[in-house]
């Protein structure tokens, strides 16, 4: 076990897998010699050479198009999109190509060996274009997997699992806690299961659900609530697609209440899918409406960032409203 922050865990995972399998290639804007604008790919080019870790020209649609072809050839492609806000030029390559490659060819060809890494999320004074949380756009794409870690241990285990999983995975990294989140990480390789939620804390009165950097927000809210004698069960979804509906429903059967928190705008955010599924599965168990504590339906603002964010106080208030329903 070594102490690392989330960024170091990512870097460590990449080194681990590149040492293990020479078919692994890492590329994107500034990921080469420089090691990426957040330094997630530091030293990779130095260690493994320019052929396996390289800069690409500045074109996201090209990066993912190239990655799709590379993966379909049999290489293991780990592509970085510098910011989640800049993944949209690649949206066609992801929706119509990455995700449909296997299906349209009857399984003859696939992009299963592709992993797309991208930092996402707000709280860093990044304004419209360095703050977005685009996971919900990808949750509507059959064929994709979406994974989001909340700490260094998950980051390494989930990234290794994503790279080895034979399906294209969008691996979203909560950049707000890149350095703030520090923890013990095994030096050797290990994998955490995709599609499974992580139980953070047991509780009886209400289930709180979030992912990435927002998990610590609901934890904070749960602490406040506990002072009011409210016992919160806390779940980190970890995988957005496919998502662990069973774990969430099991918890709701018990608590009878659900609150979902995400940074992305409310309307058609992923909380809507969770709420729609849970009201179906747990209809007779629900004692209050499923609460969604999310970003506003506006572009991500700068001056009003603090007010925009679904913080612990908004969450705490929603917990009380749900219990008092």
């Amino acid at each position: 076990m070594v102490k690392m922050n989330l960024l170091q865990a990512i870097n460590n995972a990449l080194i681990t897998v590149m040492e293990e399998d020479e078919r692994v290639m890492v590329f994107g804007e500034d990921v080469g010699h420089f090691g990426g604008v957040f330094r997630a790919t530091s030293n990779l080019q130095h260690k493994f050479g320019k052929a396996r870790c390289f800069n690409t020209p500045l074109t996201e649609q090209g990066i993912i198009g190239f990655a799709n072809g590379l993966a379909s050839q049999g290489a293991i492609a780990v592509a970085e999109i510098q910011f989640g806000d800049y993944i949209f030029p690649a949206f066609d390559q992801i929706v119509n190509e990455t995700a449909k490659f296997r299906y349209r060819s009857g399984g003859q060809f696939s992009c299963g060996t592709l992993t797309i890494r991208t930092p996402y999320g707000g709280g860093i004074a990044g304004g419209h274009y360095h703050s977005q949380s685009p996971e919900a756009f990808f949750a509507h794409i059959p064929g994709m997997k979406i994974v989001i870690p909340r700490n260094p241990y998950q980051a390494k285990g989930l990234l290794l699992a994503s790279i080895k999983d034979d399906n294209p995975v969008l691996f979203m990294e909560p950049k707000k806690i890149y350095r703030a989140s520090v923890g013990e990480v095994p030096e050797t390789g290990y994998e955490l299961p995709l599609g499974k939620a992580d139980f953070v804390k047991k509780g009886t009165d209400i289930t709180l659900l979030a992912w990435g950097a927002q998990v610590e927000i609901i934890e904070k809210a749960a602490e406040m609530a506990s002072k009011d004698g409210i016992s919160c069960e806390i779940i980190d979804l970890q995988s957005i697609l496919p998502w662990d509906a069973e774990a969430v429903c099991q918890s709701v059967y018990k608590t009878g209440r659900l609150l979902i928190n995400h940074e992305a705008p409310l309307t058609s955010g992923f909380a809507s899918e969770i709420a729609a599924t849970v009201q179906q599965e747990c209809f007779l168990y629900l004692e209050a409406p499923i609460a969604r504590v999310c970003g506003l339906d506006t572009p991500y603002p700068l001056a009003h960032e603090k007010e925009y964010m679904p913080d612990h106080l908004k969450t705490y208030e929603a917990i009380k409203r749900t219990l008092d329903y």
Binding site: I64, F66, G69, A75, G106, F109
Partner: protein, 400 residues
């Protein structure tokens, strides 16, 4: 932080100075078109040493004839309502067949959709064509895409995707993978002059040049993108003139001249493989066919214009050359065409009777294995179909 890897750079090195404001424009270059057979099939340069043996020449000829027979028959079948859609390549057979002939079978082909000629040359069988077009369960693509979206891993022919231009950066990536895996093979990427307007074209060519990918970008400039003429598609000197901007070596060729297409592609492949670099080929041709069976060209071009191009028919031109060389066995050809017609017809009749994939297949290949939610959806679907079997006749009969 700085280590020895950082050498001083100068992005101005080699740039000359001038002190007159001189505008660079098209006029500056004009890219000639390689033509080795004139329109009467006579070799333009007697001394030119052709690297084309009789066997290959005849294969090319037969593949072109086959392609046209297939096109004609399938347009007919679509009219009869037997298939939902077809897209013919009349007039472009030399561009697709002769270029494929210059490749190794190990080279990956990533095509747009009008390159059935290349697939024919590779040895895709009549049954395979029919099974795909009738989207029956014998189609390895499992009947999931519209007719003409062929694909065959065994033949190194990537399954076709409708969105235009997407295969271009993919070809760069595929070729990079071939290079890294030490394969003695390149990637052949076909596309139309219309698709070359997509952002993916820009990304694909630039990345291939910068990342040294052994790929041939083969553009069929056939004058139209559905109804949009080339003059409304771009203002430059075709697609070839763009190669320069990417630092990609470029050849423009008469796309209706088998010999020229073959020679150019052979040459391009040698360079791409030897030097790990991309080469751009622009084949000047004409889409004699309608865009597809959903299209009616009379809405946007004249019969006279089409007539002019009928005269440049690539098959006729090549036949004349073969004949002059004494390589044309008319009797054998007639028999081949006769047999092909029958073969297509009987295979068609066979294929349209073959069942589509069982319903269980609908959730396969979305992922490597179907996750819980797809399994749930399938279970519900099966129960539903069993409740209304007559409404889902194609699948209700064989639910497991």
């Amino acid at each position: 932080m700085t280590d020895k890897l950082v050498k001083d750079r100068n992005h101005l090195s080699g740039i000359k100075m001038t002190n007159t404001v001189n505008i660079i424009d098209n006029g500056l270059i004009d890219i000639p078109m390689l033509q080795l057979l004139d329109e009467d099939g006579i070799q333009t340069d007697k001394n030119y040493a052709l690297k084309l043996d009789k066997k290959t020449a005849v294969n090319i000829h037969y593949s072109m004839e086959y392609t046209r027979l297939l096109d004609d028959r399938m347009i007919g079948s679509q009219r009869q309502g037997r298939i939902s859609f077809y897209l013919a390549s009349r007039g472009e057979e030399a561009a697709t067949v002769a270029s494929a002939a210059a490749l190794s079978e190990l080279d990956m082909i990533m095509s747009q959709y009008r390159e059935q000629g290349a697939l024919v040359y590779r040895g895709y069988t009549t049954d395979q064509f029919m099974d795909q077009m009738f989207s029956n369960e014998l189609d390895p693509n499992k009947g999931r895409q519209m007719p003409i979206h062929y694909g065959d891993k065994a033949l190194n022919f990537m399954t076709i995707s409708s969105p235009l231009g997407t295969q271009i950066p993919q070809a760069s990536g595929y070729a990079y993978g071939q290079k890294m895996a030490g394969k003695q093979a390149i990637t052949m990427c076909y596309f139309g002059e219309g698709a070359a307007s997509e952002g993916d074209f820009h990304a694909g060519l630039n990345m291939a040049a910068v990342l040294n990918c052994p790929v041939i970008f083969f553009c069929r400039n056939n004058g139209y993108a559905i109804s949009t003429p080339a003059e409304e598609q771009f203002a430059g000197d075709g697609i070839a003139s763009r190669g320069i901007g990417y630092g990609v070596r470029t050849i423009r060729v008469d796309g209706n001249d088998v010999i020229a297409v073959y020679a150019a592609t052979q040459h391009a492949r040698e360079i791409a493989l030897a030097e790990n670099c991309p080469v751009l080929i622009e084949a000047m041709t004409y889409r004699l066919a309608a865009h597809s069976t959903s299209d009616d060209p009379s809405g946007y071009r004249s019969k006279d214009e089409e007539a002019k191009w009928q005269l440049k028919d690539p098959i006729l031109r090549f036949a004349k050359w073969l004949d002059a060389k004494g390589w044309l066995d008319q009797a054998a050809l007639d028999k081949f065409k006769e047999d092909t017609r029958e073969q297509i017809l009987s295979s068609l009749k066979r294929a349209e009777k073959v069942a589509i994939n069982p319903i269980e297949d609908i959730i396969e290949d979305v992922y490597d294995t179907p996750p819980w939610h797809l399994q749930k959806q399938l279970t519900e679907l099966k129960t539903h179909i069993q409740k209304y079997p007559q409404h889902y006749p194609k699948t209700s009969g064989r639910i497991k």
